[in-house]
Symmetry: C2
Subunit: 158 residues, 2 copies
């Protein structure tokens, strides 16, 4: 495979208006990634990549993130089988965010077992209630996380 | 307007499986936000909110972000007119990311003038080219940023 080289960020015009790929990684070396389902358009998850993860994703065409909880590269689906096959990669105006459109093998992306990580909604405006309870928008889990992950540590941090 | 109170994060089960709204703000007091077009499903932008911005968004039903470059609340569209009217607010499994579905007054969300901030794509897998050039996926700007923002500072940082 060819080496992928990112361009040096030199001017705002270059970053915003040119065809140079010059991603910006934050003070921790990470870039946020939004992942949507290529068919439904639904946002499945939001994660992070470091430089190695982004280059690997571009090379292999499957989503490779950086896990902040495990401090390691995270080839999504290697444990669960729920591989994200890339259909399109977009980058934003100032090149500090990535958007992946993917097909998910197995149809679920969330470690809790739902299709999308965003399975609950927040009431707002005139629909607010006093106790501000979330509403479940997905009624059933696609898989049982206990069966799929067995004894792996839960990535959610309090 | 009623006071909105977020719940204290106490257990992983509470955060992932209950109806408690218990968002997690990072070490800078921010939570990432993914904003999509309610009709097309297109990802328009990715931004951040602090606690005040999230509460204000929930109250008024329009997107209020926290601008990291200006270090201030940012009621999107107050300068450009491109207000984002909230159609739905989702929160993810571990409640450290928000997804807004919005209608954009004026049809554009990007300060460069495009409909979406993600107007360029990255070639990947077998479609990679040696020079790894980005491809423009939006051919024309919706508005001229020079007219809309006049002399306002460009938020892009190198």
């Amino acid at each position: 495979m060819e080496e992928i080289n990112f361009k040096k960020r030199e001017t705002i015009e270059q970053v915003e208006e040119s065809t140079d790929l010059a991603p910006k990684f934050d003070e921790n070396g990470l870039i946020p990634v939004v992942t949507t389902d290529h068919s439904s358009g639904e946002v499945l998850m939001q994660g992070y990549m470091n430089e190695v993860a982004l280059k690997k994703t571009i090379k292999i065409g499957e989503a490779v993130y950086y896990s902040r909880s495990r401090k390691a590269l995270w080839h999504k689906g290697k444990t669960s089988g729920l591989i994200q096959v890339i259909k399109e990669i977009r980058i934003d105006d100032d090149q500090d965010c990535i958007w992946l459109k993917v097909d998910v093998k197995g149809g679920a992306s969330c470690h809790v077992g739902y299709r999308s990580c965003f399975y609950r909604s927040v009431a707002f405006g005139s629909k607010q209630t006093e106790d501000q309870k979330l509403q479940f928008e997905e009624k059933e889990k696609v898989f049982d996380p206990k069966e799929v992950y067995e004894n792996a540590a839960n990535p959610t941090k309090l």
